[in-house]
């Protein structure tokens, strides 16, 4: 059994475990007979219907666009800040307490304040996604830059490499595996914050769709939306993981252990 599973490879095992989850869902829902817990089949038939509607597609698209903007802004801001903290003790000492204090705050909790300042539109949502992605990204970039092997820098110095060049040619590539790990955590964070921001500022987006369905007691749609969001998360992570492996194929593997879906 084990060797058969192993032969099937990670893709097949993913399908198997997801299939098992769906079967379990179906059985439990049929046994439970609760309105708020429709069987998998009833929820899944709603998925193509939702995706077939132009309006809901536009909503999901708008969500993803805000997520992309917030993430891109975070990337431009957080990586340089994290690297600077990792290489400069004073910057680290100044910013580390702020980082530590801000990290455990649920970013969605800031949404009301941000809405007071910037309204309920796109700007607020992009900003809160930016905040949510920035913190893990700063944190991991900081650790990556901090852990740069001193001897690598010395080797570069002995070759005559100047400080600015060392930052881009030694510190950045050295820290890249950690930076990308931060990106991956940030990606999950972006999805979470994206949905929660749209739950709070109900105006458009995937989170809005979800809660509208809930308001109208369309439980099949609610679950279908959750399935769609899970699929989006899964696909984004899958794509990102391909990119990440390509970028840091040279690194000694040490982070792959915690990767979901990576290996049986």
């Amino acid at each position: 059994m084990k060797s058969a599973l192993r032969k099937l490879g990670p893709a097949a095992s993913t399908v198997l475990s997801l299939g098992a989850l769906l079967v379990l869902w179906e059985i439990l829902a049929r046994l439970a007979q609760i309105d708020g817990f429709p069987p998998a089949t009833e929820a899944l038939v709603q998925v193509p219907l939702i995706l077939g509607e132009r309006e809901s597609l536009a909503s999901i698209g708008a969500s993803l666009w805000r997520m992309f903007l917030g993430g891109a802004l975070a990337l431009c801001f957080a990586v340089p800040v994290g690297l600077a903290m990792g290489r400069n003790k004073r910057i680290a000492q100044a910013l580390n307490p702020v980082l530590t204090a801000a990290y455990p705050i649920p970013k969605a909790a800031l949404m009301p304040i941000i809405m007071l300042w910037f309204g309920v539109g796109d700007l607020s949502k992009v900003l809160v996604i930016f905040l949510g992605v920035s913190l893990p990204l700063i944190y991991h970039s900081f650790h990556g830059a901090h852990a740069v092997d001193e001897k690598l820098l010395w080797s570069a110095m002995a070759m005559g490499m100047k400080p600015v060049a060392r930052l881009f040619k030694v510190v950045l590539p050295s820290a890249l595996p950690d930076v990308l790990l931060g990106c991956r955590v940030g990606l999950a964070m972006a999805l979470i914050v994206m949905i929660s921001s749209e739950m709070i500022a109900r105006q458009s987006g995937a989170g809005d769709l979800l809660f509208n369905a809930l308001d109208m007691a369309l439980y099949g749609d609610v679950y279908a939306m959750i399935v769609i969001l899970a699929a989006i998360g899964f696909v984004l992570d899958w794509v990102f993981e391909r990119v990440r492996r390509r970028l840091v194929h040279w690194a000694e593997s040490r982070q792959d252990a915690m990767v979901p879906g990576g290996g049986v």
Binding site: L152, A158, M159, G160, P173, V248, E252
Partner: protein, 262 residues
């Protein structure tokens, strides 16, 4: 006598520990190394011998004293002093060939010429078939060969070797010692070689500087008067070689006893 290649005068290094106490790592060390000389610094771990090397490299600033290289005071790292570290310190995101070319490219050598020189060096260290490999795909011994080639590539006048074979297994260490001697006997660069291995120091060096521990001071300088080229099998039955080994083992043991007694 002509000017020494490296002159170390009154070199002292103090560190502040985490709890604010001062730790005297190196105390008033004076050494001169002539051009083309192979000098080992031998001592137990924690005697500050690596720190001494880092100061010559310009990576660590001394607390007191002076280091000059060819009469010029050391103020920072420079391509005249090429380091080789125990941890290899290869750029893991670059291939073997790119690693070896890197220093040359830094110095503005054209890509074609840098590649030709790098390939010749890889050939010399028996790695010409591994040019396109990444460091993580190589064994420790191969990585250190790459690191040596990378440093030799930009033609430093001085090699600063920090326990370069310390992380390798006994067999690989022996092979690399032989290769290093072969390379050195051809172009006679000045070498400062840090080690805690007595036989390694005797086998390779013209002179061995024995250091004490905490603080690191020079205990004795032993001149190794053995013929070159040196062949290990011949040395092992050489009476003088054996006497050097015994003398240095004794000195190291004394250092340990003194440290334990203090």
């Amino acid at each position: 006598m002509s000017e020494p290649m490296i002159a170390i005068q009154g070199l002292t290094k103090r560190f502040s520990t985490a709890d604010g106490r001062k730790h005297l790592a190196i105390d008033d060390v004076n050494v001169e190394v002539a051009e083309g000389e192979f000098v080992s610094i031998l001592g137990p771990s924690g005697c500050g011998k690596s720190t001494l090397l880092y100061m010559v490299g310009g990576f660590v600033a001394p607390s007191a004293g002076a280091i000059t290289v060819q009469g010029r005071p050391v103020t920072g790292p420079g391509p005249d002093r090429g380091p080789v570290f125990q941890e290899f310190a290869l750029f893991p995101w670059k291939t073997v060939l790119e690693n070896v070319m890197y220093g040359l490219r830094q110095q503005g050598v054209s890509k074609a010429e840098a590649e030709a020189r790098a390939r010749a060096l890889l050939d010399m260290v028996h790695l010409k078939d591994f040019a396109d490999f990444y460091p993580k795909e190589l064994s420790g011994g191969m990585r250190q060969r790459v690191a040596i080639a990378r440093t030799l590539a930009y033609q430093p006048q001085i090699l600063l070797m920090d326990e370069p074979f310390g992380a390798l297994d006994a067999h690989t260490r022996t092979v690399l010692q032989n290769e290093l001697l072969g390379i050195w006997e051809r172009d006679r660069k000045t070498v400062l070689f840090v080690t805690h291995g007595v036989d390694e120091a005797v086998f390779l060096s013209d002179r061995v500087v024995v250091m004490t521990r905490a603080p690191g001071r020079i205990k004795k300088v032993v001149e190794i008067d053995l013929p070159r080229p040196r062949v290990r099998a011949e040395l092992l039955v050489n009476r003088r070689y054996q006497e050097y080994i015994v003398e240095l083992e004794q000195l190291i043991e004394d250092v340990h006893l003194e440290a334990a007694g203090a």
